[in-house]
Amino acid sequence: MERIEAIQQITEQLNDELIICNIGFPSRELYAIKDSPNNFYMLGSMGMASSIGLGLALAQERKVVVLDGDGSLLMNMGSLVTIFNQNPVNLILVVLDNECYGSTGSQCSYASTVNLSRVAEAVGFKNLFLFQNEIDFSEILDINEPIFVHVKVEEGNANVPVIDMEPEDIKIRFMDDVKG
């Protein structure tokens, strides 16, 4: 499955959940599939998606879906430990794992030799899901504990344009949506 297909399958099953989307092509792909005020597109600070998602989940009650990547999670592995300990009831951490740094030319990441689901399990995550082809969120959206969703995707990026929004506009639109 291509990553853009995975993002499409996930967003089709969401309603008004808040989405924190990882830097690079994942954000561009989400923007191309379905731009929405409840999407926060990261344009910098690789590795921070899961942390931003945790802070947002602890700060308010709406469900938060983080679309993270294997390289980004490897850059901020301590985040799994903090999420587990804080135990937010409204955080779904999705790792779109293509076993490489897709936005910089598909250089191999260590996710090809280390199973990130098993890392999350070892940290203590109780709700683990692994998808290869069809992604099913029906059960996931009803769980009120931190959830680790591991989606294996092919390497490569969709041919989608850059995001033509200013960072501040992304922020203001998103914050207005959070306030409701």
Partner: protein, 163 residues
């Protein structure tokens, strides 16, 4: 005036309700006070950079945010400050125990201690250096107002002699 109690009171006066932290010897008492406060969400983190990410999300969710850290953590956080906080224009109050300053007993703290203000200057982050608890009590709420109005991080550097 107890220095830790004063910083805690100043954070309360500023309306801070979300705090992430990594310990420093000088921050221990303050961390305990924050942790016992039911009106403040306190998240101990594994690395300062992660703490800045968490605070960014909490701010998007409507919280008034502070990080408690040693100045070494500033070095761990340069990119997140530039390409998340400066890029999106996000506020945060940084309470920084400034080691490597006068009275430091560990030589190992000196290089980052000396680099600290240069790093803040390079990032164009405003900072204050209150010398006494009375001074900090006045400056900290003003610093948060400056952060919020200016949509930018603001630092409070607390040297060894402060404690």
């Amino acid at each position: 005036m107890d220095s830790s109690q004063t910083i805690y009171q100043a954070l309360k006066n500023a309306g801070i309700n979300f705090v992430v932290s990594l310990p420093c010897v000088n921050l221990g008492k303050l961390m305990e006070m924050v942790d016992c406060d039911r009106d403040i969400i306190h998240v101990p983190v594994t690395r300062e950079e992660e703490g800045f990410g968490i605070c960014a999300g909490a701010y998007l969710g409507g919280k008034k945010t502070t990080i408690l850290m040693q100045n070494s953590g500033l070095g761990n956080s340069v990119n997140v400050l530039a390409s998340l906080y400066k890029l999106y224009q996000l506020p945060i109050l940084m309470i920084i125990s400034h080691r490597g300053t006068e009275g430091e007993f560990m030589n190992a703290q000196v290089p980052m201690g000396k680099a600290t203000t240069g790093v803040l200057d390079a990032l164009e982050i405003a900072y204050f250096n209150p010398k006494t608890p009375e001074n900090a009590l006045k400056i900290i709420p003003e610093a948060w107002t400056l952060a919020e109005m200016g949509n930018a991080p603001v630092g409070i550097l607390l040297e060894i002699s402060f404690w």
